[in-house]
Subunit: 336 residues, 2 copies
């Protein structure tokens, strides 16, 4: 049973486990340093479908089905799926879940969605409403680029602080008491906004949210960075990661040894021309499911904080002169 | 502590109560049959802000603040807010929650969002993670119209099956064990899709989801329609409501006596030229908070099922030839 230890911060009492997980990635992600980690690399950016939006749906379906297969489960075993993505009205998720007939909570947390989904799925499992609950998110370079920036055929020049939206999906299935990797606790993010207005510098917009959430969890649990093998952020990228370390160090907390950023890890900085790294809901989700959860499973790490960050603006809100609000949700994963 | 009674269906054990609620509506909604129910009617469609999107944010802020005031609470008392709306990337909610600094789950369930938020807030309260949790949603005629249909200045002709997106917001604050109106149980929706592709006939697209969710709750709890004073849907409108009754009656269940639809109630059919009625996240939320929760509070009803439905398409998914998937989440409210 979960226990509140501070506002928005809770511990589960070791009753929720990661039963299965899977990561599916696109061709460029497959060519990056983590390429061999993914369960499947799909070279066709349309994934056999007619549009990129439908392809993104297909990435989610593939990730969920792979996670189900690995756990020898079928969709009927899953009591709840928490899903979200970046496309307007989250259609990537609605059309993927339509195929499964699983009871469904649609989420919008931008790139924080995987952590948000894991928190909700974990609580629903912990309190017995779900025997198995899943979380899945996705992103697709081509759906995001044309929605948030320019039509691809326009060939717009990317700024140095820009990140590359990953074509990828990650899915996790949680269960009660199945041992292995536990969801030990979580921290629900608050919105931070330091007045960044540059849609090509979202790492900087999101860093304050990550700093706030990580500090709230450390402080509420009375732990320090060296209690964790890794403190993972979703997609701050290179500039945002530097800012995060800076924010925290000004508060007297040094996470430079433990910090990893999925966005900074997924592409090769020198050869893949992705500027500040990867981004998108699928970035953190696929690196979590392809890299960090396997590390925990193999016992190469025992305690990981996964803090996924989301930039909650829209192109219209920026055109209207607004700044970029951001949020970070944190999931504490522990190998027993 | 919540108890699973079927896939996606649960009962709470009478530990979560509605502590406070508020409804704020626009001018046209204020002129409708429920006009006197709302805590505030705002005649300025910009609500003192520069854009309609910012106005929608302001409706949410006003609803949350009014609910807080009525309960003599401040934002610091709220451990979690579940919020969502229809605008791309749910900016109505992100910018409203930014002002509050409350830990935040962003949701996208289209017009089902109020029920989705209530379910998540109820579970988080029931299991002790939140002492107080809030749910809020909104919609705005002018933000929805230009996003989903036509620029307002185009003056497009509305079809007979069209509904009118309400300018409104509703907010509910839940607490543990404060008595009064309880969240007695819930049903998490599955996606239904009967292949409707007409964006001007969303009531028909959503009716099958409402039927499925209501039947799942009745069947899992072993109850029948006469066990409830009202079975309320969010915004099926006139055509969708007729279809819902029809679907259920074919399954041997007659809810015609108990059924109410917020969309069919909020406008006067003869004088307000809104065709099939109201719609939008703010429709169900404001009628719940302005009409049905007060009825429970006054003891005029003791058992209400609130089943809010959402149409999960986007303009782009329809342009790409997809049909409209829909979902309905159900909250059982009981006055002790």
């Amino acid at each position: 049973m979960a226990k509140r230890i501070a506002r928005g911060v809770f511990l589960t009492e070791a009753e929720v486990s990661v039963e299965s997980f899977a990561a599916v990635a696109g061709e460029k992600e497959g060519q990056g340093p983590l390429g061999s980690c993914f369960d499947k690399v799909v070279s066709d950016s349309h994934f056999g479908r007619e549009t990129w939006e439908q392809a993104e749906t297909q990435f989610q379906i593939e990730a969920v089905n792979t996670a189900l297969r690995k756990a020898k489960l079928v969709t009927e075993d899953i009591d709840l799926i928490c899903a979200g993505d970046l496309i307007n009205q989250c259609i990537g998720s609605a059309y993927s879940v339509r195929e499964t007939e699983i009871p469904f909570f649609g989420l919008y947390g931008a790139c924080s969605t995987m952590a948000e989904g894991l928190l909700i799925a974990a609580v629903m499992t912990d309190c017995g409403i779900a025997e198995h609950a899943a979380a899945v998110t996705s992103s697709h370079f081509s759906t995001a680029e044309r929605q948030f920036r320019f039509p691809l055929s326009y060939g717009g020049q990317r700024t140095p602080t820009a990140q590359w939206t990953c074509t990828a999906s990650g899915a996790v299935i949680l269960a009660r008491n199945s041992g292995g990797i536990r969801v030990a606790g979580g921290c629900i993010g608050k919105i931070a906004d330091l007045n960044v207005t540059d849609i090509n510098n979202m790492g900087s917009a999101m860093a304050p949210a990550a700093a706030d959430t990580i500090m709230r969890y450390l402080s509420a649990t009375g732990t320090c960075p060296r209690d964790y093998d890794h403190i993972v952020t979703g997609d701050l990228g290179i500039v945002g990661s530097r800012l995060l370390l800076d924010f925290l160090s000004k508060q007297g907390t040094d996470i430079s040894v433990q910090h990893r950023d999925c966005g900074a890890m997924i592409f090769d900085r020198d050869s893949q021309d992705t500027h500040c790294g990867g981004s998108g809901c699928g970035c953190g989700a696929s690196v979590l499911c392809g890299h960090f959860l396997p590390m925990l499973e193999r016992g190469e790490a025992r305690n990981i904080l996964f803090a996924a960050t989301g930039a909650l603006m829209s192109p219209m809100s920026l055109q209207q002169g607004e700044s970029i609000p951001s949020v970070a949700h944190l999931v504490h994963l522990r190998k027993e």
